[in-house]
Amino acid sequence: MVDVLRFESPVTTIYPTGETEDLTLGDLSEITKQIVRADSKTAAAEQLAVTFGSSRIDGDVIVLGQRPDEFLLVGTPTATASLVEGLDRSGHVSVIDHTHSRAMFRLTGSNASATLEKLCSVDWSEPMTPNGAVVSASLAKVGCDIARLDRGPDRSYLIACDRSFAQYLFDAIIDAGNEFDIAVVALAPTLV
């Protein structure tokens, strides 16, 4: 019926894309997101090898410890699929594709944490959330999973939220970033 299925992003407002490198926000909602729930005793949890609150880069996939005994795998469809397929499913392990459930944004720049501070009560200072830290918290009153994954010298955050809130949250981040001249950038749905 259709040749190629296009992924419809939940962010539908078109913002002019900017030039500034200081603070940027991009939509990554299309990226594949798999949730693995595996109790700490299971082999799968051992394979995934991150604890709650931290993250690890595994080839083309980022593995986030987003909840106790719960992992979010983010990456290209093939890379995440191969990681999931390689998991030992013994014990109580479930896998749920969350690509369509969660929207994902990336906020990058020297004022990224100052922007988050306008929306979220978590402490984004270096010792509390060093590079690689993963935090679940509410952003502009929307529950989010936020990972700090710097890009070179720049602070950068991956922000995942329920798809239905995506447009609202995107707008709220733009509003918060206005005082820092935030610009919207187009991002390819790859990470690493």
């Binding site: 296009r6 991150v50 369509h100 809130f165 609202y168």
Partner: protein, 948 residues
């Protein structure tokens, strides 16, 4: 600017930028840097307002933020502190509370009225006749003090921000600056907050030595990496050092509320100078020493020509020096330390002309300066649990106890010379940095994620503060005469004495009865004098009387700043853009925005019943359940049985809370051996997720079930109507949709319009043959438009929530929360077959067991005798001829299908049997009759269409 002095060494005005503004209709000029108060006084405008009760003319007393007489209206901004707000070019400023007018002399009336406008006079008058009180009330309301709200005031951009500093310093005087510098030098992240427009505190209006110190401290603090916030106020300290800061100096926001989780709060607010109580103390021309010094040294304004200075301390002495320097004649110094006193300030209503002293002499003067001591603004400390203690030797209150994460320094903690003060502040800064580091360490330690704690717990030297000396000060509160204690409330010391004699003799009752300390400065000027007068009346000490409670905010804070940018999340489905583009009328359901209808809900119903309709039901709650123990969980949450649900089947169930009250309902389908998909009502989605987790985590941690919400992951579309199968089969090719292969209450997975991994189940709220498609949301819009395109010839049309509500009512399906209420137990629903008391346990089981034996209200279908009458939802059902309530209509609509009114209602058991004749009271009072129906469904009770 007739009272403007030649340039002063420390002045903060910029003479090269003149400004003009309007005051009370006339044009005046000022310089950049002038406050409204300094500008008015420079222009010799000495009367700025009238008092609240007696309407006496008032002039500046403190000429700063706390001036009780200086409230003005600036454009649409009421109650502006003219001693603080800077003049802007073109500003329109008006006096408020000036009836009959600023200058009119009401002396005679005042004298008469004053005698009986005593404290509590309201309570003793207007008692009879009762009917007259509303009339009096309207008159009194006209006397309400304060400015005017312009209801068209735009909200403006108000910002908010969270912060996690190590140390917040409240107050940017010498003590605050020194504390900030020393804390920052130890690596602490410090926010230094100053209420005034610039750092410096008292030093800003001090002498050459003060100015030198100010320059030195400012230089250091600016180089110390401290975040400096001027024209910003720490307005409150809440639990766990949650600290509110209002920043009025943000570059783009009108105001910004900063919510700082300070590890340590340093309170360095200095002291607030206290007025003296004596007859005539509110005459224009009576000023505090700080006011005079600010006016001369910061604003180059000459406060008078001929002054009497009543001094009990060094600040008063310093004021004499300043006055004489700028050519004010100091006619007499009345030194309280020598036992001298002032008794009465005399003159006309508009100005002071002489001062009577305790030795009987009367000195001509147009300015009376008093320096009688201070109020310690212990407010922030008290919010942290501290209770102030009175120290008689220095005649002021002090903080009492040591609070681990709230430290006090500067004038509030004691006196001493500049070196002692700075030493104390620096030691406080060090201690604050040290304690903050310990807190940071502990917080990291508590955060049980794999983030390394940075280094060992710091072990720096602990507290090395040398306590500050307390200078002796005469106890100066009230002279031998009576006078105003609370300027903004117009409360006289005589009122306080009378109230105490009447029995309102604890400080709290006195406050409430007389309203002393309840005005805009909240006791910053009045508290100590109030307490002193009461102590005198009761023959007790000031400490025994105690103070009233200081409460947040430290200084009044606008609703705009508190409200800030408002976060009200809204949720939309993937199809929302289509709905908007196609004329849907939106409706809010919780946080969801959904189409209520597309123009004509009745037509949508008819089309769905005759052809095929599609509705976006994405908000339906969806939970992915996986694990071997899912049936146990289902058995526990639902009242019916779940152990035998075959793969590919869907079942309906009701959930109750532990008290048997209906919580939610919905269907759950078994997708594979270990995987189920549960749907809940849209509003119940979050609750049921938490409810399920609660049982799993607390009562049954041994059950292996993973519950994961997938509501937004699937765009849910219900395709309903006799032609729905025809339509769906055009989009689905790998699933047999035939009635035998895919029966009612079954679930299949497959590809829809080329989108893989879709689920579809054969259920429907509308009572029609229907297929509910759950499509991965990244392709939801694609499937929606494909359905419309492919079904064009079948007459497919979208329908909204309203059409769905009508159709479900035609079918007699109830809605939890509409047809049930906070007390409706499951047996009221007429589905007792779904309550399986032979299960071992399920939520609410005992209550349901007992409830099944009682006669409860029932939910029944009702039709009015006159088919055209649609009773408003919530219309009451009564016993005929009486007002005795037998039930109520919970849902009602005009049915386009049956062309008549249809209802659901909750009725008492006696009114529940089919055929019972009911009386419904319409909201216009008419009574109509109606009948209880045999089936809950008004339409197709056998469910033939559904199964089609």
């Amino acid at each position: 600017m007739t009272r403007r002095l030649p340039a002063q060494a420390g002045e903060v005005i910029n003479r090269s930028t003149p400004l003009s503004f309007k005051w009370d209709g006339g044009n005046l000029s000022a310089f950049e840097g002038d406050t409204i108060a300094s500008a008015l006084l420079a222009n010799d405008k000495r009367i700025v307002s009238r008092s609240m009760k007696y309407h006496r003319p008032r002039g500046y007393l403190t000429a700063d933020f706390w001036d009780p007489n200086g409230f003005v209206q600036v454009g649409d901004d009421p109650n502006v502190r003219s001693g603080h707000r800077l003049v802007e070019n073109g500003m329109t400023i008006d006096p408020q509370n000036v009836w009959p007018s600023l200058d009119y002399d009401m002396k005679a009336a005042n004298g008469l009225v004053g005698r009986f406008l005593t404290a509590g006079f309201y309570y003793k008058t207007f008692i009879k006749p009762q009917a007259m009180w509303p009339v009096y009330e309207k008159v009194l309301a006209r006397f309400a003090p304060g400015g005017t709200v312009d209801l068209d005031t735009p909200h403006g951009y108000h910002d908010k921000r969270y912060a996690h500093p190590d140390v917040v310093v409240a107050g940017g005087g010498p003590a605050g600056m020194a504390a900030a510098i020393s804390a920052a030098s130890l690596g602490a992240r410090v926010m230094l907050v100053e209420h005034e427009h610039a750092l410096g505190g008292h030093l800003r209006w001090g002498n050459a030595e003060d100015r030198r110190l100010l320059d030195e401290l400012r230089g250091k603090v600016e180089g110390a990496g401290v975040e400096i916030l001027t024209n910003s106020t720490v307005t409150g300290r809440y639990e766990d050092n949650w600290t509110a800061i209002v920043q009025r100096s943000h570059p783009i926001a009108v105001e910004r509320l900063i919510k700082a989780r300070a590890k340590v709060l340093v309170v360095a607010p200095g002291l607030i100078e206290r007025p003296y109580v004596f007859t005539g103390n509110d005459k224009p021309g009576v000023m505090l020493s700080g006011a005079v010094r600010r006016l001369i040294n910061m604003y180059a304004v000459k406060p008078g020509e001929r002054a009497v200075v009543f001094t009990g301390n060094a600040d008063g002495d310093a004021a004499i020096v300043d006055l004489e320097r700028v050519g004010v004649t100091v006619a007499r110094v009345v030194d309280a330390r020598q036992g001298e006193n002032i008794v009465v300030a005399k003159g006309g209503a508009k100005a002071l002309d002489s001062v009577e002293l305790s030795d009987g002499s009367v000195i001509e003067a147009d300015l009376l300066v008093t320096a009688v001591g201070w109020t310690a603004p212990t407010s922030l400390l008290n919010m942290a649990g501290d209770r102030p203690v009175y120290h008689a030797g220095s005649a002021r209150f002090y903080p009492s106890a040591e609070i681990h994460n709230v430290l006090a320094t500067g004038g509030i903690a004691g006196d001493g010379d500049a070196d002692q003060l700075l030493a104390h502040a620096e030691a406080t800064g060090r201690l604050a940095a040290n304690r903050a580091a310990a807190v940071a360490h502990r917080v990291q330690d508590l955060t049980a994620r794999a983030l390394p704690v940075q280094g060992p717990e710091p072990t720096w030297p602990e507290d090395d503060r040398q306590s500050l000396p307390r200078d002796s000060h005469p106890a100066l509160f009230r002279s031998t005469t009576h006078g105003i204690v609370d300027y903004s409330e117009d409360v006289d010391s005589k009122d306080l004495v009378a109230a105490a004699k009447e029995g309102y003799d604890s400080v709290e009752l006195l406050k409430r009865y007389t309203t002393a300390t309840m005005g805009p400065s909240q006791g910053k000027l009045e508290t100590v004098n109030t307490v002193a007068v009461l102590a005198e009346a009761r023959g007790e000490t000031i400490q025994e009387v105690g103070t009233t409670v200081w409460r947040p905010p430290y200084a009044p804070i606008t609703l705009g700043a508190l409200g800030g940018r408002v976060f009200e999340p809204v949720r939309v489905s993937s199809i929302q853009s289509w709905h908007e583009a196609n004329g849907a009328t939106p409706i809010l359901a919780g946080a969801w925005v959904r189409p209520d209808h597309y123009g004509d809900p009745a037509a949508e119903v008819t089309n769905t019943r005759t052809n095929v309709g599609i509705i976006d039901v994405t908000p339906l709650g969806k939970l992915d359940l996986q694990g071997p123990d899912v049936p146990k969980l289902l058995n526990h949450l639902y009242t019916n049985k779940w152990s035998q649900l075959p793969v590919g089947s869907v079942r309906y169930g009701i959930m109750c809370a532990e008290d048997g009250v209906v919580l939610d309902d919905g269907v759950t389908g078994r997708l594979s051996d270990n995987r189920y998909l549960m749907t809940t009502t849209s509003s119940g989605a979050a609750t049921i997720w938490e409810w399920a987790e609660n049982w799993l985590q607390t009562e049954h941690p041994d059950w292996q079930v993973h519950v994961t919400p997938v509501t937004s992951g699937f765009t849910s579309i219900n395709v309903a109507g006799p032609k729905s199968r025809a339509l769906v089969s055009r989009l689905v090719d790998n699933v047999d949709l035939g009635p035998d292969a895919f029966d009612y209450m079954q679930v299949r997975s497959g590809t829809v319009a080329g989108v893989p991994n879709c689920f579809m189940w054969r259920i429907g709220f509308t009572g029609e043959l229907s297929f509910e498609l759950h499509v991965p949301s990244g392709h939801g819009l694609h499937v929606w438009t494909a359905l419309l395109e492919m079904g064009n010839d079948l007459g497919v049309k979208p329908f909204g929530l309203e059409a769905q509500r009508i159709m479900r009512l035609e079918k007699g399906h109830f809605i939890v929360g509409q047809d049930t209420d906070g007390l409706t137990k499951a047996p009221s629903l007429g589905m007792n077959g779904l309550i399986k008391l032979d299960k071992d346990d399920f939520a609410g089981k005992p209550e349901l067991a007992w409830a099944m034996e009682q006669s409860l209200p029932s939910l029944v279908a009702i039709q009015t005798t006159d088919p055209a009458e649609v009773p408003t939802e919530a219309s009451q059902i009564v016993r005929a001829g009486t007002n005795e309530i037998l039930g109520r209509i919970t849902s009602s609509r005009m049915s386009p299908t049956l062309d008549r009114s249809i209802c659901l209602g909750q009725v008492l058991p006696e009114a529940a049997p089919a055929g019972t004749e009911l009386t419904i009271v319409m909201i216009d009072g008419r009574r109509i009759t109606a009948r209880v129906m045999e089936h809950q469904a008004h339409f197709d009770p056998e469910g033939q269409r559904l199964r089609g």
